[in-house]
Every structure is written in C-alpha cells, then in structure tokens.
C-alpha cells in the first residue's frame, strides 16, 4: 500500500464524509474513540489494581476482563453504526443512480419535443401543438419532481452543499416576477413588488434562494381562485433583509397550518381542485432559509389568503 493510501485510510474525517453521516455516527471515528477508551481503561485498571491488589496475576486478570468487556461493547456499537453508515451510503448512491436514469429519458423527450414544436422543419397544426404542449408540461412536472426529490434526499443525508456568494435579493425577485408574468396573467393575478432602492446584499447560494422565491411566488399565484393580487415586499430591518409575500388566495385551514412545512404535505382545501404539486416545496424552502441563517414564517386565514415571510442576514 502506498504511503498516500495509508495516510488517507488514517484520515478519519475524510473517511466519514463519504458516508454522509456526522462524526458521532461514523464507524471509523467510533472505532478510534473506543480504542482510546479501552487502552485508557486498561491502563487505569492496571494502576488501580497494582495499588490495591498484591497478586500481579489477579491484576492482569482484572485488566484482561475489563478490556474484553469493553471490546465486546465497542464491537457491537460499531457494528450497528457500520450498518447504518452503509445503508446511508447505499441510499445516496441509489437516489443518484435512479435520478440520473429517470432524468435521461425525460431530457431526450423534452428536447425532441421542443424540436418538433419549433416547426422549423415541419408544419405543426394547432391541434398538434395543443397536445405537444400537454406533453411538454407533464415532462416538466416529472423533471421538477425528480429535482425536488434529489434535493430532499440531500437534505436528509446532510449532503446539500450551499455555494454562497453576495446576491442582490431585490434583483433576483425582479427577475423572477418578470419570468412569472405570463403565468400570473394566465391565472388572472396581478403581482406588485415594493422595495427600497440600494438594499444591502445577502451572502447566500443564489440558485437555492432563487428556488425559495420561486416556490413562494408560485404558491401565491397558483392558489388564487379567480382574480387576485399578490404583493411582494422587501425591506431592511436592522441587520436583516425582510421578505414578505401576501396573496388573497384560498388560505390554509387552521387545522393544517402546523403541518405546512412537512414533507409531502398538501392542505386539504387545495387538494380538491389542484392535484398538481408534490408537497415538497415548503419543506425545501424552510430548510434553505434556515441553513442560510434566516427565519421563515407565515400567517393565513382560510378563504382570505396567506402571508409568507422570511428574513436573511445581510452580507
């Protein structure tokens, strides 16, 4: 074995990282710790034994018995954690493989469809375009679901990495509102944005925060029954930026409110007429905000609307 390989094997922290578990659940770290405890206990037993017991053979027997008991305990603890670590690693690998295998045919479908819909080399009838649009939307739904499931699995295996940089939240929101313009128009919803000029920047993962605002904006517009209005506000409060999004949509029933940030949860009143949606958006949103050093909350009244807010520390 090369020296580099040996040193790599001894680097407990890097060995543990590949399992995606904390140090206290990592078999290699626990093995090292138990080793130190056993050696320490053997030496302590020897020192105490030689002080109070005259016969050296009995001292040796006491040290042997204590070491053996501790070794057996260590073995069973580590064996348990080894199985946990391996199961965790297999779960991560399984999700990675499955998501890649699911994403590949979806990408093939999406791009072949976009080529057909462009009509550059063939005439596309209105009827055909209608159905192609259905294909495209549903491919999009599957792709979004896989993306969300991947993020959730990374959250749970503590392998979600946030690549932070300075971001202008104001610019990000303006960009997203512009992207949502056609969707809002189709839902008969007006979106208003109010923010002071030259607000401080935040130090966050731009693509993750983008997903947060997208989730909240999508929910606010989507769950408005008829004509409606969504008001987005961004302001600085001390050392934090405060974001608020208020809609006059269907609201969240009181009995469902405590579950709203849970995985796969969708409130009873929206399930009746909007069967789309994985119930993962708010779970992911809450995680990202809290991991970015912020807080998130909401208030809602069924039939009147909801107000979601979050804060982020300024850079």
């Amino acid at each position: 074995m090369e020296l580099k390989e040996i040193l790599n094997q001894l680097n407990v922290v890097s060995q543990c990282r590949k399992y995606g578990l904390s140090l206290w659940q990592c078999p290699q770290f626990l093995f090292l710790l138990m080793g130190i405890i056993i050696i320490g206990s053997a030496i302590t037993a020897f020192l105490i034994g030689t002080r109070y017991v005259a016969d050296p053979q009995i001292v040796a027997l006491i040290v042997l018995v204590i070491s053996t008991i501790l070794l057996v305990i260590a073995f069973s603890i580590i064996h348990g954690f080894e199985r946990l670590a391996e199961a965790n690693r297999m779960k991560t690998e399984f999700i990675s493989i499955v998501s890649h295998q699911l994403r590949s045919p979806l990408s093939n479908l999406r791009w072949a469809l976009e080529l057909l819909m462009s009509g550059r080399n063939n005439l596309v009838s209105e009827k055909q375009l209608e159905y192609f649009t259905i294909f495209k939307e549903n491919i999009g739904r599957m792709q979004e679901l896989i993306k969300d499931l991947l993020i959730v699995s990374r959250i749970e295996t503590q392998t979600l990495v946030l690549k932070k940089k300075e971001v202008s939240l104001e610019d990000l929101i303006k960009e997203l509102i512009s992207e949502f313009e056609s969707f809002a128009k189709a839902c008969n919803v007006k979106v208003k944005f109010q923010a002071k000029e030259n607000l401080a920047k935040v130090f966050v993962d731009s693509s993750q925060i983008r997903q947060v605002v997208e989730n909240l904006l999508d929910n606010a517009i989507r769950y408005i029954k008829d004509e409606g209005e969504v008001k987005v506000k961004l302001e600085q409060k001390g050392r934090k930026l405060y974001f608020e999004i208020k809609d006059n949509g269907v609201g969240i029933p009181k009995e469902d409110q405590k579950y709203i940030f849970q995985k796969f949860f969708r409130a009873g009143n929206i399930m009746k007429y909007q069967t789309e949606g994985s119930g993962l958006g708010l779970y992911i949103t809450k995680f990202i905000i809290e991991k970015s050093g912020g807080k998130i909350g909401f208030s809602s009244q069924e039939g009147k609307g909801s107000t979601f807010w979050f804060t982020l520390p300024i850079s």
Partner: protein, 122 residues
C-alpha cells in the same frame, strides 16, 4: 463551417442534436462511446466538444482527462453535458479542464444552443 463533436451514448439525443445543430449552421460529428470520442477528437479536430459523463468503454471524466493531456486536443473547449449531479462532480469536471458543466434537465434546447454558441464565440 464549425464542427462540434458530440460524445453521447443516447442515439435519440444524437438525432435531435444533429437536426438542431445543422439548422444552426454547424456540422455535428457523433461518437457513441468514450473510446470513439477520443479517436474522433484527434482526427477531426472539432471546434467544440459536448461530452456526456456516463459513457460506455471510457467514462466521461477519463475522456476529459485524456483530451486535456493530449497536446493535439487540449485546446478544444469541452462542455460537459450530463444528468449526473453527484457531489463534487462539477468541481471535478472544472478541475479536469471542462469549460462548463451543464445538467441536461436544467436547460431547454433553445438555452442549450445559446450556451453552445457562446462557447464557440458566435
């Protein structure tokens, strides 16, 4: 006419890209595995390489490494185009010399063509 080498084992994608790239005025050369990809990179000297990662015979990362080690192909810009999004994959690709790492699921065909044109300086 600029040449683009597409190293990708999915023949459906090869067909779609052949169509869209020729509409955009590019000549596409196709390779269905890493081994053929490396050979064609050397013989055809394309202006850009689109490289999938999960490939038969030679894995995308190894193809990238060999492309950048070979004097004859190291200057050709490489866009990694994959649905793999494992931890450290993006960093590894950039470290090995890829110009960009694009996750297929994140882009429409139109957006992808824009990225390709940008990489070619068009």
């Amino acid at each position: 006419m600029k040449k683009i080498l597409f190293i990708e084992d999915e023949s459906a994608l090869q067909k779609t890209f052949e169509e869209i790239l020729s509409q955009e005025g590019y000549k596409m050369i196709s390779a269905l595995d890493g081994e053929v990809g490396l050979k064609l990179a050397q013989t055809e000297k394309p202006d850009l390489i689109l490289l999938d990662l999960v490939l038969p015979k030679v894995h995308g990362f190894d193809v990238l490494k060999k492309l950048k080690e070979n004097q004859e192909t190291k200057e050709i810009p490489v866009i990694v185009l994959t649905n793999l999004e494992g931890i450290g994959d993006v960093e590894k690709a950039i470290e090995l010399g890829a110009t960009t790492y694009l996750v297929k699921a994140d882009y429409s065909l139109k957006e992808l063509v824009k990225k390709i044109k940008k990489a070619l300086g068009d």
